[in-house]
């Protein structure tokens, strides 16, 4: 039996929803970032799967996936730098305790 496009899309959807759950329920800022990484990965699976099954001759999906991986790296670097800065001034990275508009 061949594995079709919809199987990959379903796996990606499940991964995306797990990431969403993590982002919505976690208190720790780093854990929220991990949830976002899961969601980006899910989007990437979709792009590569569509590339493979819908338009195999063009590699547009892979190009977009690579761009997203690069942007995910940027996002992780800046996000984690923000977490470090927050921890340095507030001594917590639990997002519900970071409730000051101004220090």
């Amino acid at each position: 039996m061949q594995v079709g496009l919809s199987s990959y899309l379903i796996v990606a959807a499940l991964l995306f929803c797990l990431g969403l759950y993590g982002v919505l329920t976690r208190r720790n800022a780093v854990a929220i970032l991990m949830g976002i990484e899961l969601m980006l990965n899910a989007a990437n699976i979709n792009l590569v799967a569509f590339n493979r099954f819908v338009a195999p001759a063009a590699v547009a999906g892979q190009v977009f996936a690579l761009v997203i991986i690069t942007l995910a790296a940027c996002e992780a670097a800046v996000g984690l730098a923000l977490v470090m800065a927050a921890y340095r001034s507030l001594e917590t990275i639990q997002v519900d305790e970071i409730n000051l508009m101004k220090w």
């Binding site: 796996v11 797990l18 590569v48 001759a57 590699v59 690579l66 977490v83």
Partner: protein, 163 residues
């Protein structure tokens, strides 16, 4: 048969650690569980014949982003092993939203007749991806590099101790 078995195994390797990532009360275990998830996604890319994306996925996600996340956990309070409450009050709401979205997406994905094409991928993907990056998608390529530079500088400025 073999393809289906490989797909099932890779999906489980992707999804089971992902559950640990979002539910574990131990933040370091959650971060380490990212590694099998990313490797499972890599396996899916290989099955989709996108080997260059697969290589970059391991290099960037498993090798760099996970390590960066672990690094920040160790530098902040997570690495101390002190048990703090990891979940907020939105658990029922978040679970409902996630399950509902998963249900809707799966219904959409199974109901839609996707216009699959019968063509084949270029045999040597890397060349095709490289050519695409420097011809049709050169603007994206350049803008991405600028974003990369800006975020590099931004991360240094934000994380640097003021003295």
């Amino acid at each position: 048969m073999g393809e289906l078995a490989a797909f099932m195994i890779l999906s489980l390797v992707t999804l089971i650690p992902a559950v640990v990532v979002v539910t574990s009360s131990n933040i370091v275990r959650a971060a380490l569980s990212l590694v099998p998830t990313f490797l499972g996604v890599t396996g899916l890319y290989v099955m989709l014949q996108a080997e260059f994306v697969a290589g970059i996925q391991v290099l960037i996600y498993a090798g760099a982003i996970t390590v960066l996340i672990l690094f920040v956990i160790m530098l902040t309070e997570g690495g101390t092993g002190v048990r703090t409450r990891q979940l907020n009050d939105q658990v029922p709401l978040g679970a409902m939203a996630a399950v509902w979205l998963a249900f809707v997406l799966i219904v959409i994905f199974t109901r839609t007749g996707w216009p699959t094409a019968a063509g084949v991928l270029p045999a040597y993907n890397v060349v095709a991806v490289g050519n695409a990056f420097l011809s049709d998608y050169v603007l994206i390529f350049e803008v991405t590099s600028v974003v990369l530079l800006v975020s590099l500088v931004g991360a240094i400025v934000i994380a640097r101790r003021e003295d």
